[in-house]
Point group: C2
Chain length 382, copies 2
């Protein structure tokens, strides 16, 4: 079946080798055999963490081998410095500002010739500058990081200025095929008039547990101990992470909006915010004080035969993130646990929506989406 | 936002301009403005129906304009011959065998240079020959027609020999992103160990109505009068259409199997088959005689807290199509009406599957999937 398949080598430069980035390197090692059967060779030419850039000696011809990639994963798991890898030889280390210059050198050398996929697995707002420069140098961009796409609209426009060379599936619903589905519906000329989704596994889990009669504070604490929440659960409860995903979807539909244009209902009030109390105080005092209000809203919804879900709604001129009462027998209403669900309504999917559901978080799944994006881009280089 | 976007012109040759093909031409006209904004121009150079090929005068430079494409749709709606369009000028008509030669001429001229998308919207087994030849000539293939992919494995291998140049999303679940989702999961190195799906809107509708206590025969007759079934409902009840979709999915997973390897449970027995009785007799006598058996199976499932669904299952070494008892609270068990549902199980989607749900039939939705495939292929020509 491989008869006639030409092989393409895809150079990859990875920004961020923490959770998702590290998992991506694992996936690249594990799937190398599979991809070579389909004529694709992934060549990792460099990895950048918050302190330095580690690159192969000759970026034009070399890539880290599997043993080296595995060693990077091991080093990063133990929170050690990439410099520990210099002993392996055939690589170079650059620190801070020098690292940025070197990345642009690599982008300049490879971007327009063989193509270079610059893969952002950080959670930083600081990568947007270098990403924009690599776009100008002809590179492809793959994002797990939502922040570059949720900056100002000018930055966004720049990043997607060559729409064929950017992929960002893992920014919404991790590896779930949400972006590709929206893109395909739009490409078919089918106008999307509504997207509604539960895009936070954490908040999905919390709301379905609360519906079962448990107290909000206890469920949040349980979610925290299960590792479902951020260290400060307010990072989830604020809704800002969902708002970023909503903005990415809205902009994909062509909406010219910014974060400020999204109505975000936080699950806690300002008096319980990070500026007013510590995480510890929030968990001890702030969180339990929210129980009654949440319980009343759940009961009120239930008395109307509905359930409460924390969703994003993109419809008409409205992009909104917060608690909504939804029919029990809708895909969102039936949602249990930490799955994500997205309902897409268009001319073709009017009476019943196009629904995508599944695990929408986790390093493994997110990295899987990133790798599928990298592979998808290689069509450009045949 | 279009700054820096280069325009690519995609020549399209359409085989079959009945239901789906006609709808595709409508979509192309309706979405032309949208695509040109993204740098894609679709140029329809010819349309082939069962009798003849109508092509533009100069396939290297011309395409049918929107007025002409609309006229093709009008002519085909009224079951008239494409020859009626000769009056419009700037086009040529070729009959039968001459048409095949001409298609290969066009494929030879455009295949390797600008790319040519040969789009099969027929329901015929007879296109496989010409499709294989156009593959050799460097053309891209887009299929709504399941039959070329469900022929012998040699034909299949030939068609997918250049995997980057074939798309067939609409063969399974119409426009639903099933193929692209499976492809992405595989590309990420995430092994799929189970696919289970309800891939017949007709049988989905029938089984959920029967579950509500209606008799099987009455539901099938109602479905027929709503236009949900083929003229002879046995074409749906045989399960062969579902089996074709199952084979396409299994082969996508790398299984080297043929139609014969699929265990297909028909909803009627041989004594009620097309060789034994006419459609009319089947509807009058055969169909009601099935009521009791179906009712008993539904009741037996219900007594075990389960529901009966007509599904395909691809798992282990088994590819099976037929009625299965499923948990009421699974995505498939909750299925109502004519929606398709596919559950994909893999390492990333193990505890709860990746689920895709929505309308999985209809000319509009099917043609939308075909158009999204055509647009997806244009990345190859930048």
């Amino acid at each position: 079946m491989t008869e006639g398949i030409t092989t393409v080598t895809v150079p990859v430069l990875l920004l961020g080798c923490g959770g998702v980035g590290r998992e991506l390197l694992h996936h690249i090692v594990a799937s190398r055999h599979l991809h070579s059967k389909r004529g694709v060779v992934l060549r990792v030419v460099g990895v950048r963490d918050s302190r330095s850039l580690l690159q192969v000696e000759d970026v034009a011809t070399m890539g880290f081998d599997d043993a080296f990639l595995t060693e990077i994963c091991r080093i990063k798991s133990s929170s050690s410095s990439l410099s520990a890898l210099l002993d392996f030889g055939h690589c170079q280390l650059f620190k801070d500002s020098e690292a940025t210059t070197k990345i642009l050198d690599i982008a300049g050398l490879l971007g327009r010739t063989t193509g270079l996929s610059v893969v952002d697995c950080t959670a930083s707002t600081e990568t947007v500058g270098i990403l924009k420069e690599t776009v100008d140098l002809g590179c492809c961009i793959v994002l797990a990081n939502k922040k570059p796409l949720t900056c100002g609209i000018d930055d966004y426009d720049k990043l997607i200025s060559n729409i064929r060379r950017i992929r960002f599936e893992s920014t919404v619903g991790a590896g779930l095929p949400v972006i590709v589905s929206v893109t395909r519906v739009l490409a078919s000329g089918d106008p999307i008039y509504r997207i509604i989704g539960s895009l936070s596994g954490t908040l999905g889990y919390v709301m379905s547990e609360v519906e079962d009669g448990k107290s909000f504070s206890k469920v949040v604490l349980a979610a925290k101990s299960l590792g479902y929440t951020e260290p400060d659960p307010r990072d989830d409860l604020s809704g800002m992470d969902v708002a970023r995903k909503a903005l990415i979807l809205a902009r994909l539909l062509g909406w010219r909006i910014n974060m400020d244009d999204i109505q975000v209902d936080s699950l806690y009030s300002n008096e319980h915010g990070p500026n007013s109390m510590s995480t510890e105080d929030f968990l001890r005092i702030g969180l339990p004080s929210l129980d009654r209000d949440v319980q009343e809203r759940v009961s009120a919804a239930s008395s109307r035969g509905k359930v409460l879900r924390y969703v994003c709604v993109i419809e008409g001129s409205r992009c909104q993130v917060g608690l909504q009462e939804l029919p029990k027998d809708s895909p969102l209403g039936r949602l249990r646990g930490s799955d994500n669900v997205v309902e897409i309504y268009s001319r073709c999917y009017k009476d019943s929506p196009l629904v995508i559901q599944g695990a929408g978080a986790g390093n493994d799944t997110t990295a899987a989406g990133v790798l599928a994006d990298i592979i998808d881009l290689q069509d450009l280089f045949h």
